[in-house]
């Protein structure tokens, strides 16, 4: 194990635990911890990590690292004590930092194993952050888990698909598989959609603005970056388009089928999505407005249906 490897990755693995050790009075540490990957990623060269998973690697340095570092900067700003993150508990901060570390690992991975591992850990860390705060509406957890699991299966199938086109390599490289596979951009779009569907759901069920901002920042930055990692600029564009199309489709379904949407959602208040956009965000009124936004955008069941369709499409793409 090289010293550089140790220096780069040990902090990424251990630092998310820092808020738990320091407690609430040291909250100014949280954004600093979130910023540290920038200092570590920018100068680092590409690294081979043969001892991680089945032999992984990370792409360090260059414009890629700069883009990924931006995620950290925005995320650190979102966690800053003067912002909405002022009221975060140490457990929630730790979970969010773990999600950030896992996202970065996924984004800089040169092989699909690390990408998949980072991607999964990030999803569950975000879920743990939500659960740790007690900010989840009753009965929503099964819905989220129902969405997370098909999302994981989709990601697993995607990795197998890449492995297949890379001649059954045990650890197919991201760039190699994307170059070989015709229509890699479309696949990148599917992958981003899988990420976005989970992230969006976590975003939509948020009940406290302090967590909403960092979560939103992370999800919104990670989705196009993931698309970019899988399929360059076209991948990023297709990821964004896929997310937008998915959101529009669920919103349209809700609009076209309001009685059904009303039955599925648990929201009591109805606040217009347009009102939410035009009047700005009032932290005190967020829970009700988010519930309204959720109704506007579509219930979790629509999102679940979308995830299941995604899994089926990936299976079809894999085998037929």
């Amino acid at each position: 194990m090289s010293l550089l490897t140790l220096v780069v990755f040990a902090p990424l693995l251990l630092l998310p635990l820092l808020p738990l050790l320091c407690g609430r009075p040291r909250q100014w540490l949280v954004p600093l911890v979130a910023l540290l990957p920038v200092a570590l990623l920018l100068p680092a060269q590409p690294l081979a990590l043969p001892w991680i998973l089945l032999g992984s690697g990370v792409a360090g340095g260059g414009p890629g690292a700069a883009v990924v570092s931006l995620v950290s900067v925005f995320f650190a700003l979102a966690l800053a004590p003067w912002g909405k993150g002022a009221g975060l508990s140490p457990r929630v901060s730790a979970c969010l930092l773990l999600a950030q570390a896992a996202c970065i690992a996924a984004l800089v991975a040169t092989d699909l194993m690390l990408l998949l591992a980072g991607f999964t850990v990030a999803s569950y860390a975000l879920l743990a952050a939500r659960l740790s705060s007690g900010a989840l509406a009753p009965g929503r957890l099964p819905a989220i888990v129902l969405l997370l699991v098909p999302g994981d299966l989709a990601a697993f199938e995607l990795a197998l698909l890449f492995a297949k086109v890379a001649d059954n390599a045990v650890t197919p490289s991201v760039a190699g598989a994307a170059a070989v596979l015709p229509g890699a951009t479309v696949i990148a779009g599917f992958a981003a959609l899988a990420a976005a569907s989970r992230g969006a759901l976590l975003l939509l069920v948020a009940r406290r603005p302090g967590q909403l901002l960092p979560t939103a920042t992370l999800v919104l930055l990670v989705v196009p970056t993931l698309g970019w990692r899988l399929g360059d600029a076209a991948g990023a564009l297709s990821a964004v388009l896929a997310v937008a199309a998915g959101a529009a489709a669920t919103a349209a379904l809700s609009r076209l089928w309001p009685p059904l949407a009303a039955r599925f959602t648990q929201a009591r208040e109805r606040v217009s999505w347009r009102l939410l956009l035009w009047q700005g965000l009032d932290a005190g009124a967020w829970p009700g407005r988010l519930a309204g936004a959720e109704r506007e955008l579509g219930s979790w069941r629509f999102a679940l249906a979308g995830a299941i369709v995604l899994v089926l499409l990936l299976l079809i793409a894999t085998f037929f």
Partner: protein
């Protein structure tokens, strides 16, 4: 006698001799019994490490004695045997520590630990058997030494479970004996050989297929293949260390290991595929995987839920073996170790909940994570591994099985794996939710005086250590001597040599 002949016998003796001595110790000789157990387990670990190092460098450790005319008692520590022996030795050590803590005030401890040691001896014998007759001898010894452990509590339920266990396993043993005798009559040899010995023996294909099914039915009872699995959920009346032993170290694993030996070292996987028997085995394994998971969903009793989970998970090994190809073989063989680590963690944790707080049902676990955070953290790691989430050990197995299925053109197996993962999530994640995020329904019993941690250290350390091993086996899968690397060595050296 050279060290290469002595070491396999010494590894057997490290559990056999303490076990025999323990039978004659008085019930109150707790300290002597514990020292004997732990010393035996430690010496076994050291000897296994020496053999592991030697085998990785190409050394051979084998010994044989004439048994009957034409038949020998043969022990051989090949790379596959050592994978299983290493697992058993490590987990025996931890289970012994756990059992010492768990059975602190239980009656008949001398009997328990005596048979416990015999059980491990039999398991190591099964692993190192150099031919089918030696395998059969230790396989039957395993049945007989496990029965007293299953009925240890001597309740009506325990006796009923023990009777059922005996009925199933003796029936399986009879099928194995019949298949072994028939095979010897047809081929004139029973020696395990890399890539099999039946091809070219002159026996007709239908006869060999019939022998294959007899042998697999024999070991399939212990491997809990549907419909031969009925004994396993009932055997959950046994104490938690016994459940851990049954599911992770000895009985179920011996059955799965037997399937590997029969397919690779008796028939040879390519010849078995030619006979068409691997397709049938794959179908049974797939049905077992889904059936076990579906039954687990409906169980409120935690140990029964884990038992049906074992029914499902052990068949991953059979599935990996039956999908003909090196990648799937690696997946199946490495799951032998990974499933053992994950399942023993889960049973240790279930035992801790029962022993410390009297909790036996999933519906009673609300908020237990706050009262027993380390135990619940260990349970969480193992459960996520069972689902197959990266970077846990279970993901590595699932990845190789998926790749192997695609490599062999068995795309249906990917659907089985995906379905099983979803079902695993459906019966494990609600437990985690209850444990971590629900409020307890009543105040917990206070921590007993003198206990510093959430429970006794002898109960707490084993699941924490095995949970760490689950994580390390996944994250460091490519490190030399990791289960995944060793499984790759086994497959390359013995099953699919160029």
């Amino acid at each position: 006698m050279s060290e290469h002949e002595l070491l396999p016998l010494a590894v057997l003796a490290t559990s056999l001799l303490p076990g025999l001595v323990i039978f004659f110790l008085p019930e109150g000789a707790v300290r002597v019994r514990s020292v004997l157990n732990l010393a035996g387990a430690t010496v076994k670990l050291v000897l296994v490490a020496v053999m592991l190092w030697g085998v990785s460098r190409g050394e051979n450790y084998a010994v044989s004695y004439p048994l009957l005319p034409g038949l020998t008692f043969s022990l051989r520590a090949d790379s596959l045997a050592l994978l299983f022996v290493t697992l058993s030795a490590q987990l025996w050590f931890l289970t012994t520590i756990y059992a010492i803590g768990y059975l602190e005030s239980s009656p008949n401890r001398a009997r328990f630990f005596g048979f416990f040691s015999l059980c491990v001896t039999a398991t190591v014998g099964v692993a190192m058997a150099g031919n089918l007759i030696t395998f059969l001898l230790f396989y039957e010894l395993l049945t007989l030494s496990t029965y007293p452990l299953v009925v240890h509590r001597e309740t009506a339920a325990a006796r009923a479970a023990g009777n059922r266990y005996l009925a199933y396993t003796i029936g399986g043993g009879a099928a194995l004996l019949l298949g072994t005798a028939w095979l010897y009559a047809e081929t004139g040899t029973l020696t395990f050989t890399p890539r099999g010995f039946v091809d070219g023996s002159g026996a007709s294909s239908p006869v060999l297929a019939a022998i294959f099914f007899l042998l697999v039915a024999g070991v399939g009872v212990k491997a809990a293949l549907v419909p031969l699995h009925g004994w396993l959920p009932r055997a959950m009346v046994a104490p938690a260390p016994v459940s851990a032993l049954l599911h992770a170290v000895a009985v179920v694993k011996a059955g799965a290991f037997g399937i590997i030996r029969i397919v690779y070292d008796v028939f040879g996987v390519e010849y078995a595929a030619e006979l068409g028997v691997t397709d049938a085995l794959a179908a049974v394994a797939a049905v077992t995987i889904i059936y076990g998971s579906l039954r687990a969903l409906a169980q409120d009793d935690l140990k029964r839920r884990l038992a049906f989970s074992t029914v499902s998970q052990v068949s991953y090994i059979a599935l990996g073996v039956a999908i003909v190809g090196p990648l799937a073989s690696i997946g199946g063989i490495v799951h032998l170790v990974h499933q053992g680590l994950m399942k023993i963690t889960l049973f240790f944790c279930a035992g801790n909940y029962a022993e410390t707080l009297g909790l036996h049902k999933v519906s009673e676990l609300d908020g237990v994570g706050r009262r027993m955070p380390l135990t619940t953290a260990a349970f969480t790691v193992a459960a996520l591994g069972m689902i197959g989430l990266p970077p846990m050990a279970g993901f590595i197995s699932k990845w190789y099985l998926g790749l192997g299925a695609i490599e062999a053109g068995a795309t249906w197996a990917v659907f089985v794996l995906a379905g099983s993962s979803a079902l695993n999530a459906a019966y494990f994640l609600p437990i985690l939710h209850r444990a971590w995020f629900r409020a307890p329904t009543a105040a917990w019993a206070p921590v007993p005086a003198g206990v510093r941690a959430e429970t006794a250290l002898a109960l707490l350390l084993p699941p924490v250590i095995t949970a760490l091993l689950v994580l390390l086996a996944g994250v460091l899968a490519s490190v030399q001597y990791s289960p995944q690397e060793w499984a790759t060595l086994v497959v390359r050296r013995e099953f699919y040599a160029p």
